[in-house]
Amino acid sequence: MKRTLVLDDIESLAVGAWVLGTGGGGNPYLPLLNMRALYKGGHRVQLMPAAELADDDLVAGAGGMGAPLVGIERMGDPHTLTRAVLAMEAHIKRRFTALMSVEIGGGNGVRPLMAAALMKLPVVDSDPMGRAYPEGQMTSTAIGGLAPCPISLVDVRGLESIVHSTPNAKWTERVARKICVEYGSTASMCTPPRTGAEIKKWGIHGTTTKAIRIGEAVRRAQRLHEDAVAAILAVEPGVLLFKGKVIDVARRVTEGYLRGILRIDGLDEFRGVAMRINFQNEWIVAWRDEQPLAMTPDLICVLDSVSGEAVGSETIRYGQRVTVIALPPPEIFLTPKGLEHVGPRAFGYDLDYRSVFSQ
């Protein structure tokens, strides 16, 4: 059933999307501020299940690309994001009937709502990642072999670009990234148009609702001064991996990504145990006492032990008290083709994927 989101849903969505960001994707705070302003101005957004799409509906993925740090100086706005969608409509000479998230994890979990509010289009309760990932081919749509093009990139100063044709999603990512850097390392984008039939077959469904559910649990626990991490595990089939204090964060940039190692020393029932998490923007592999414990595509979420809110790989710091949980991945990532795109080897780890949920 299509339903109109209330502002409280979007407040929860922002908190939940940050949890599903698994360390990356950028904090959804600024997109949330935009939504507060739009709702204050009388705009409303409808959320619709993918199942209600007609086969010939046309769906746009609307979101942002670039460095989160640039995004907190040059803050994205609903009009520019809308222009990215309109530029795509002009290019393909068709009108969209709905929008969706390009990745539910992080700021992009909230962004499609900004354009949807202005365009009066519904947002589909689906996305192609079910989390955040660093690269464009790490999607259910790329695994499904859907068209890697065109995509539009728009800058607030009136710059509009279309990447019209590429052989695969990896090339789209490379070329689009170049354009984005010229813009100043931030851009509003519209990803390749998908039909209703394609989304129904290849989308990861119910992820906006899932993010809202997680955010609601965290916010309710905060209000009642209850354990916010336990609240997440009460609404999602996740597992508690570790509790501790950050003792080291080593970061380096290679090939345009933030890579590094997070080290946590155990507290409470984990005293005397050490955890290490390798990251590439997102948390990729978690090792307990040097044995792999959880790995992509399982969602590894590092949360503030007190507030239950997510902590990003860019901002996590020495001394922070964190709790690490794992949430189950979308099923499509567990297929052989899925693991080829997003399994540990896709990130350069010589590990066979072993689900933390089967241990």
Binding site: L30, P68, L258, T315
Partner: protein, 512 residues
């Protein structure tokens, strides 16, 4: 070196004299509504001890919670004109957009957004629209707005647009108090801008308060330069502090931690400051409080201030005690302790009564608490110790036992042995630790910006140079500068080996 440190707290105004590295005198006077009287009284009391006689004082350092209280209580705030340079970007989130509505109503005098700003790599984002700045300034003047907050995209990297806009505004509104966001540091437009707007809102209060401080010092007959202590445990000369009052926001708590370090001689330790109503727990690193790195809310406004990372709990010398079930705090009799506590003839059972009954404190009348049995009193102290232990454990950043310095008027609540603590240190003059911290404050300089196409070593050294220069401008002696924080973070997605470097240096106040 002879310095007077003053802490203007909610209850007491403490004053200490530090002479050749020792506490030569320490006094307390009640804080007054007008602040000035309390300072004068404390200085008079210090003078009465005879320690000041015929001596030249090198500096008076004042720590105060006056400015943060103004924001929290929404009092004495000036209406502000917000001028942002960065159009057409960020237009959907104008200045004040994430302020609590009541505070925004009070402070928002007008909002102007014009073209300007920079990219992350120093390219101009848009040329500065000077005509639009001049037009905005004329409108500010017409609206009788004299406090102005100017912000610009990526101004911590390149402040030139903010500076130029400030010149243009000053030409149109000659008596304007202008705050540029680049003077307040960090990347993050909204938070930096918020800090600038709060600072501008405090312009009048800051001018009046610091003038009152100066008058109090003059009237007391002390001829010494005035310094105001900052959130990070350092000081700024009064004229600079007047310009940036937001930097003095959290100085009370910082001073007590710095004072604890000084009085104990320890640079790395946990500190517990037990006051009348609340207890603050923090961690000392190299003699300075560990800073909060994330967003700090002040009066509901998100900012990126340099603030100590503190945990506050409702435990103090005036905490109410309930026995069935056993509960200590968070309610406190506060400054009414000497009237309302049982040991003082009042009716409210407090932690102080427990300590008096057990003979830990010589205060009030012990006979009045003779009916309290020792076993019950010990249970109350054990509960207070448990609360303290939990707070300390939450703030510790390393496993293993660490030393703990207990200061503040309620430090008697901290037992000599606590789990997770190697040693509990009670120090002489610990009840005036905050004034001691003010007296020994140093001067700092900070650099936080993105460097491109440099090796890591080059970037760190460039940042160090900028931080050093800023410390000297703030009044430090160059030869005494030492780096106390250095952090670098490569930036995801940015090309050309971009790295964000944050360096902080401190040094002794230069001799005048």
């Amino acid at each position: 070196m002879r310095r007077i440190g003053i802490d203007v707290g909610g209850t007491n105004t403490d004053a200490v004299l530090i002479e050749e590295g020792k506490v030569a005198g320490a006094v307390k006077a009640p804080t007054s509504e007008d602040v000035t009287t309390g300072i004068l009284d404390s200085l008079k009391a210090l003078g009465a001890t005879g320690v000041l006689k015929g001596k030249k004082i090198d500096g008076v350092m004042i720590g105060t919670t006056h400015f943060i209280n103004a924001v929290v209580q929404r009092r004495h705030l000036t209406r502000v004109a917000a001028l942002r340079l960065g159009m057409p970007a960020s237009a959907s989130l104008p200045p004040f957009c994430d302020w609590p509505e009541d505070l925004a109503e009070l402070v928002r005098g007008g909002v102007w957004m014009v073209e300007g700003g920079h990219e992350y790599d120093g390219r101009p984002f848009m040329p500065l629209d000077e005509a639009a700045v001049i037009k905005a300034a004329k409108e500010m003047k017409a609206a009788d707005l004299k406090a102005v907050g100017i912000s610009s995209i990526f101004s911590p990297l390149d402040p030139s647009h903010e500076r130029r806009a400030a010149e243009l505004v000053a030409k149109e509104v000659p008596d304007a108090a202008i705050t540029c966001s680049s003077d307040l540091g960090r990347i993050g437009l909204l938070e930096r801008e918020n800090a600038g707007l709060l600072n501008a809102a405090l312009a009048d209060l800051s001018r009046d308060t610091i003038a009152a401080f100066e008058k109090a010092i003059r009237d007391s007959g002390i001829a010494a330069p005035l310094f105001i202590t900052q959130n990070d445990g350092t000081v700024a000369e009064a004229h600079q502090a007047r310009r940036l009052p937001v930097y003095s926001f959290a100085s009370g708590a910082t001073n007590s931690m710095r004072g604890a370090a000084y009085l104990s001689g320890l640079g790395d330790a946990m500190v517990i400051d037990v006051g009348g109503t609340t207890t603050d727990v923090g961690q000392l690193k190299h003699g300075f409080p560990r800073e909060a790195n994330s967003v700090v809310k002040v009066g509901g406004v998100r900012t990126l201030f340099r603030m100590p990372d503190l945990l506050s709990i409702g435990l103090g010398g005036g905490s109410h005690v309930m026995l069935d079930p056993l509960k200590v705090g968070p309610v406190s009799v506060g400054y009414r302790l000497l009237k309302d506590g049982i040991a003082f003839g009042g009716r409210q059972f407090t932690t102080t009564d427990v300590a008096v009954a057990l003979g830990l404190l010589e205060l009030g009348d012990r006979k009045k608490v003779a009916h309290l049995d020792a076993a019950t009193c010990r249970k109350v102290l054990a509960e207070a110790a448990r609360m303290a232990e939990e707070a300390i454990d939450r703030m510790k950043t390393e496993a293993g036992d660490v030393p703990l310095i207990a200061v503040g008027g309620g430090a008697f609540l901290i037992p000599d042995k606590l789990p997770g603590v190697s040693q509990v240190i009670h120090v002489q003059h610990g009840d005036c630790a905050n004034a001691v911290g003010a007296a020994i404050a140093q001067v700092s300089g900070e650099c936080d910006q993105i460097f491109k196409d440099l090796t890591r070593a080059e970037a760190l050294s460039a940042a160090q140079g900028i931080a050093n220069d800023r410390a000297v401008v703030a009044g430090a002696a160059r030869a005494s500068l030492a780096t106390i924080e250095s952090e670098d973070m490569p930036l995801a997605y940015l090309p050309g080996n971009s790295v964000r470097v944050r360096v902080r240096v401190v040094g002794d106040v230069a001799a005048a």
